[in-house]
Amino acid sequence: MNHEHADFELEPGLRVRPIENGTVIDHINAGQALNVLHILKLPGQFESVVSVLINSPSKYGKKDVVKIENRELKVKELDKISLIAPSATINIIRDFKVLKKNRVKIPEYVEGVVQCINPNCISNSSEPITSKFRVYEEDNTINLRCVYCERIISENIADHLLRE
């Protein structure tokens, strides 16, 4: 096992085996792993192995980890993940080695990712537009301000993610 790969492996005893090729999403806020799977539409028809760790102990308290074999992520998926797990790291694995490791970037704006919570917002009507939010951090919380009606979403963002 490559030592770089080890930092999201767990202590000896190895609860989840390393993957050969795919993506490891590490440092997911504890309790958000299932929402990450939901964003990635996993398992769905996906046939490779997906491993999920919930409430795994780490240096900074509890975290979740998701390992997906033979799958890389799209930009829109990364944007969505950053909203519910802003500290997550994305590790691309090739031949058991970490090819690339990046922290998710919180985008300045997200389009077509979240549904506005205001039922009277123009983005929730039959108009030919997609929802659009400005993303900002305040008191360590991710806030989304609707570009159209200016309503702010600061809690339970996962509940408002749009299904494609």
Binding site: N120, S123, P128, V147, E150
Partner: protein, 298 residues
């Protein structure tokens, strides 16, 4: 309204002042001759629509009115985006009122010509805020004004917009409302962060003795499940000649209208009454906006 800088607001108000003599027909103008203003109102309105129409006519331009929603293609299910794409090719500027929040923002994305928001549901109504500021400037003073805002502070977004705008002028604000209709904490916090002094009370008697301006708004019946409770609250905020005995002599009373029973008609003939003048000031303020947006003035 939060996007407007003090300089922008001041410029609009100063322009309105220059145009006031045209608004009262002391002077004539053809500043916007040949220009067409499309007036799209998807909700009923009297003052806003008519004052926009008067404003463009006084400046020599023409009005293109959609008429009622029932008689238009909207009743056939056309989207607002399509309506805007069509109308922008007929007019130089569009004035839009729509029941959905964010409608004007969306319309501006589909229009090559300027779109003026004349109210979007429970959202913004920036031209009302501008005319409120203009009224305060003309009838009282804007810088450091002591103002009491009474009525529904919770849902009244026009009141929220006015507070944000007043923050530019170092206003001293007293909010008068029953507990259940208090201004949301985030807004108070935001106003205080902008250096404003905000007090809250449920007693209009107490507030009225101190202030230069009293701005009262209608409390909507549907906010109260119990009609008796509505009546109690509405009566407690009513402006009567007796209440005004304790007011400063220069106190001005404002109301966006229509009023129901917030102000006793006996108050209309006192020097404190300012609400009909306020409705008139909608004309020079909207003239100023049209002149600035449609190229009549810079």
């Amino acid at each position: 309204m939060k996007d407007f800088s003090k300089e922008m607001i001041d410029h609009i108000l100063e322009t309105a002042e220059k145009l006031e003599s045209i608004a009262v027909m002391k002077e004539r103008s053809d500043m916007l001759a040949g220009k067409v203003l499309a007036v799209l109102f998807f909700e009923p309105s009297t003052r806003t629509r008519m004052s926009f129409e008067t404003a463009i006519i006084r400046l020599g331009g023409e009005v293109l009115s959609m008429g009622s929603v029932d008689a238009s293609s909207i009743s056939k299910g056309e989207t607002l985006a399509d309506t805007i794409r069509v109308v922008q090719s007929y007019a130089d500027t569009i004035v839009l009122r729509h029941p959905k929040e964010g409608a004007a923002r969306m319309a501006s994305e589909f229009s090559q010509v300027p779109v003026i928001n004349a109210g979007d549901g429970a959202g913004h109504h920036p031209t009302q805020t501008l005319l409120d500021l203009y009224t305060i400037k003309r009838e009282s003073k804007l810088e450091g004004v002591k103002i009491a805002l009474a009525g529904d502070m919770k849902y009244g977004r026009t009141v929220h917009s006015l507070c944000y705008a007043l923050a530019h002028y170092g206003a001293d604000i007293t909010l008068v409302s029953p507990d259940e209709l208090r201004m949301p904490y985030e807004i108070i916090k935001d106003l205080e962060a902008r250096g404003m002094n905000v007090r809250q009370t449920d007693s209009i008697d107490e507030a009225i003795t101190e202030v230069d301006v009293l701005y009262i708004t209608r409390i909507q019946k549907e906010r109260f499940p119990d009609p008796a409770e509505y009546l109690r609250v509405a009566t407690s905020l009513q402006i009567t000649p007796e209440l005004l005995e304790n007011a400063k002599s220069h106190l001005k009373i404002m109301h966006p209208l229509p009023r129901v029973n917030e102000i006793d008609p006996l108050v209309d003939n006192t020097p404190h009454a300012c609400y009909f003048k306020q409705a008139f000031y909608g004309v020079p303020v909207r003239m100023a906006l049209l002149a600035l947006v449609m190229g009549g003035m810079e």
